[in-house]
Symmetry: C2
Subunit: 316 residues, 2 copies
Amino acid sequence: MTVALPSFDDICDAAARIAPYARITPVLRSDVLDALVGAQLYFKCENLQRGGAFKFRGACNAVWSLDDAQAKHGVVTHSSGNHGNALALAAVTRGIAAHVVVPEGAVRAKLEAIERAGAVLHRCAATQAAREATAAQVQQATGAAFVHPYADTRVMAGQGSLVLELLDQVGELDALITPVGGGGLAAGCAIAAHGLDPALALYAAEPQGADDAARSLAQGMRVGAFVPDTICDGLRTLIGEPNFNALLTHRVKAITVSDAETIAAMKWLWRELKQVVEVSSATVLAAMLQQPQLFAGKRVGLVLTGGNVDLDALPW
Amino acid sequence: MTVALPSFDDICDAAARIAPYARITPVLRSDVLDALVGAQLYFKCENLQRGGAFKFRGACNAVWSLDDAQAKHGVVTHSSGNHGNALALAAVTRGIAAHVVVPEGAVRAKLEAIERAGAVLHRCAATQAAREATAAQVQQATGAAFVHPYADTRVMAGQGSLVLELLDQVGELDALITPVGGGGLAAGCAIAAHGLDPALALYAAEPQGADDAARSLAQGMRVGAFVPDTICDGLRTLIGEPNFNALLTHRVKAITVSDAETIAAMKWLWRELKQVVEVSSATVLAAMLQQPQLFAGKRVGLVLTGGNVDLDALPW
């Protein structure tokens, strides 16, 4: 099944659709980090979004895009992380059921959060095939609408809404950098950014141990499945087909970073911005610290994607 | 020397005076923490103030209250923590020198921050007498104006400005809770709050191992020096004379909390608000969790005082 990319108008519609439920997240700045990189940095704090991650935007847009006849059967997804939690929270805003298929071995704290948000958990084996099969079963049994974590038009549109908000808050930017995993965020943000300003330079930060987007962009063709090896648990995903197409079309440049660079950047963010952010979020600052010459003197937006961290297992 | 309390007008003047330099800090909310306490909580994030603490407000007001003839000789204080750093940063905004007397044994990271902010460090023995004597020597040698960390009219007025900002951001509140150490924050906030709304209930959270303000309020008279025993390094101070008078006049109620309660509350703040806050800041939530019946169903402002934490030595 081909998944269409959202248009700029779809993203504007998504922003209006989720406005009653999503938070307008603050943009933070730091003199110390500006000096460190040699640029003007605008940190979009999606760690302060509902559910502690940008994922609420896409999930909420998907939930409120359903017509009433569809919606009454609820929604279903497979996710062991922020998307499952976001979909559960979004379903509550519409008073419908959420089913989340979770693989064995998922982090207990994350599962508890999803359950606390009111979702029904469905356990399955820890393979992609088992996830998809179980989600399909739940879909058949309940009639729930499937909401893919990133290869979904409504989800990409919802994530892109954060760029409209960011540019409204800070004015024009020279560049924007997001992390890239499955690519829902990177694709939505690219379409939104170029809808407002076609000259805006776009970057995607990716862990070296899950650099499929970088390799795919380098060869102009999406690479196949791989075994991720990175501490960035939110970015271990193979980039989606429509997501990759969006990155290619919008000339997004990938920058890959080592886990050591990311952990160092994470500490800078905690110390100077006073924000609890996930390790995946820190890839964006790590990329700028690795390649400051790309950003020298520029106004750069950085998306801090989430703040759901196990405080008892910090990576330093 | 008697130190006068600031008037409500002094606080309004301070707010205007520091407006070009201080940040308007965000107010954050959390459904989870609201449900936990059973009240509506408005967290004023002074961890996001310049220098990472509310102290910049008072220091900046003091620096810009000097006339030009005084200012050209610079400012001096004794502090091993946030006030020294704040005074150094405030002095930079006026282009004048800052001298900070620091006791032996102070945390190196904090001293480096003060030096990085451009202050001249003067080391002394780790006693109150040595601090005061060294500060007096520096004052004599340089002509610098002394700015006490809390028993100073200009400092209290500056700290109180955060309440004007908070009530402007969120509207009326039923109660306000701040931590109390030397009492610059608690006194300034009490005067500001009652200047706007005499019915607002005021609380001060204090560690059990440094409960001099609670004991002083209980007996209506300021107790003498004591040996603090608490993890809250920002709150080990004996409350100042004018500060205590302000708390008494404004019927501030003290709530004492154990270090264990404070550490648990700190984790809640990091996990749910995604904010890096110091352990001293967490006393306010710890107090509410200990005595939720005082706040049931109410709209309560909580001041998160600072976020300068040693990430390599977290208390859990």
